[in-house]
């Protein structure tokens, strides 16, 4: 939310900023310490991920900076810890803190792009279904119904399997990120489509749509320029909650070994690697990426919960 605050300030001057500061949503934000904490954590993680190359003390994927002699060092505060590696090192001598920052970058990239794709597909199909109606509507919603009966993770697994079967194993590493984004996008679009469709249905009957039609605007223009801004509200909540789900989905797929390869680790891959060392006592290899993932998703969910309550006047 604080990015939005900054954006609206710079875009339209201080008048808009004052208005924003007095708006219900900002007041509710300021009065909820949980939401503020969550926002700070999410923001910090986004910044850490975006500037991973600058912040991280090492590049964990540059062979020249990684030495096997540093392998499996515990965190700094434990016996045998090395002051150079705050959170210890993994089995190959990579700095855990740096690896987590790089992993966070990949996780947030895949999750963010996946959610964006899902929203794009869902909003487009929802608008078309709601605005055009009739057979088109029935077809789109039937597909949505069928898909909704299956959990997203299963659909993502299937898409991943089919894509890799079609394009064979050689391209697996290079295509990992796009495949994951497509899998997540195709697994999460239904919720957007349903929400947008039902509110488009309502908007369609309003005067401004009739007016736009009378003026002779083509249907796509009416849909995108006039109806869309009026139905976009609830999408923001779904986007927030889905980001957490998408990050979990990516991590799960990578953990299961069908997501990102170990050469391009996300949080899920790091956890999968660390899981192998659980029994030999090297708990930090799995604990820190795991905690990062958990805190990230928890914060995003808290923000989503708060946003839902804040935007829903019925609950106040």
């Amino acid at each position: 939310m604080s990015e939005m605050a900054g954006a609206s300030k710079s875009a339209t001057g201080s008048g808009a900023f004052t208005r924003f500061r007095q708006s219900d949503i900002f007041v509710s934000f300021r009065s909820s310490p949980l939401a503020m904490t969550a926002a700070v954590i999410v923001l910090a993680m986004f910044i850490g991920a975006a500037f991973a190359t600058v912040i991280a003390p090492y590049n964990p994927f540059d062979p020249a900076q990684v030495f096997l002699s540093d392998a499996s060092l515990p965190p700094r505060w434990q016996d045998g810890g090395d002051p150079r590696f705050f959170l210890g090192t993994d089995d190959q001598g990579r700095d855990m803190f740096s690896a987590i920052l790089y992993g966070l970058q990949v996780s947030l990239l895949v999750g963010g792009l996946g959610v964006a794709l899902a929203a794009l597909i869902g909003i487009t199909l929802g608008l078309i279904a709601g605005y055009v109606g009739g057979r088109t509507d029935a077809l789109i919603m039937r597909i949505a119904d069928v898909q909704l009966t299956f959990p997203a993770i299963l659909i993502a697994l299937l898409i991943d399997g089919v894509v890799h079967a079609t394009f064979k194993g050689a391209t697996r590493e290079a295509s990992a990120i796009p495949v994951l984004v497509v899998s997540i996008g195709l697994s999460f679009w239904v919720q957007y489509a349903r929400t947008i469709r039902s509110s488009t249905f309502v908007e369609k009957g309003k005067d401004y749509v009739s007016a736009a039609r009378l003026v002779g605007l083509p249907a796509p223009v009416i849909m995108w320029r006039h109806v869309l801004p009026n139905v976009l509200g609830p999408v923001l909540i779904i986007l927030t909650i889905n980001l957490g789900l998408a990050v979990i989905t990516e991590a799960t797929l990578s953990f299961l070994g069908v997501g990102l390869p170990p050469t391009e680790p996300s949080l899920g891959t790091l956890i999968a690697i660390g899981n192998q060392y659980l029994f030999s006592g090297e708990w930090w290899i799995v604990a820190f990426p795991g905690a990062t993932l958990a805190i990230l998703v928890l914060s995003v969910n808290l923000l989503g919960d708060w946003l839902r309550d804040a935007l829903n006047p019925k609950l106040r």
Binding site: V146, F150, P151, D160, F255, G257, V258, L278, V297
Partner: protein, 325 residues
Amino acid sequence: MLAFIIRRILQSAGVLLAVTLIAFLMFRFVGDPINQMVGIDTPQAEIAQIRESLGLNDPVIVQFGRFVWNAMHFQFGISYQFRQPVTQLLAQRMPATLELAFTAAGFALVVGVLMGVYSALRRDSILARVFEAVSLVGVSLPTFLIGILLIYLFAVILGWLPSNGRGEVVRIGSWWTTGFLTSSGLRSLVLPAITLGLFQMTLIMRLVRSEMLEVLRTDYIKFARARGLTARAINFGHALKNTLIPVITIAGLQLGSIIAFAIITETVFNWPGMGILFLKAVQNVDIPIMAAYLVMIGLIFVVINLVVDLLYGLVDPRLRLTMRR
């Protein structure tokens, strides 16, 4: 009512047909089924002969018909990896997955309802807040992370429970194996079942809590209080009973996701079920297993949805009215 049932069954059949079509398209067009069966040095004439004998030269619609027919008889061909009939492979692993799934579902339902009722009745108690925090964490932690955490706590540090496999199993009948009858089987079940059930448990707890709070505000509860009924009779006889309809619906619908989510839990705990088989199939492009699993899961989901919908109509008279229209 009858019209509703028929329409609902037809819809389910349609969904199932769509799922089967996807499975067929995958089976037929993703990776050539022939390539997987023959060696590099097999002569062209022989390949053509196999192609003909498998009916791969027939019109696609005929092939789809044959696929559906075979699927109805639970025949999905031979696994590329194991060189065994897919049906046999799935049947071997089905008991493990089903026992895990039903234990997890039972755990989620019992504990979830108890926690939900408690936190609705004692809204401001410390324990209710703890439950709420637990539910938030349960929703946010990915399944595999919960599994790893439990293994670390109870298997590595405390050494109380096994973290790997099913333990000793007993064979019942011709193909069913059960871990319920041995102590090592039961002990092995604890951690995976909790891991798998935790998410559903938090879901049920949140649902019971909000439904209970809603029902406790209604007039008939106030009337029951005015009549001087005991708190226990009101809370459990009247309030809980009326919250259970949506709870059972959700729990029923979630059973399907539990079976699907078992893929993750089985991987973490090396549980020899269908989920691991499917995951290996995805990794190794073993299309017959993927297709069979898809059709089977589709069947389970559709049947559960259908049963829940029909039960809902039976239980809630208001819905029957809307159905008649």
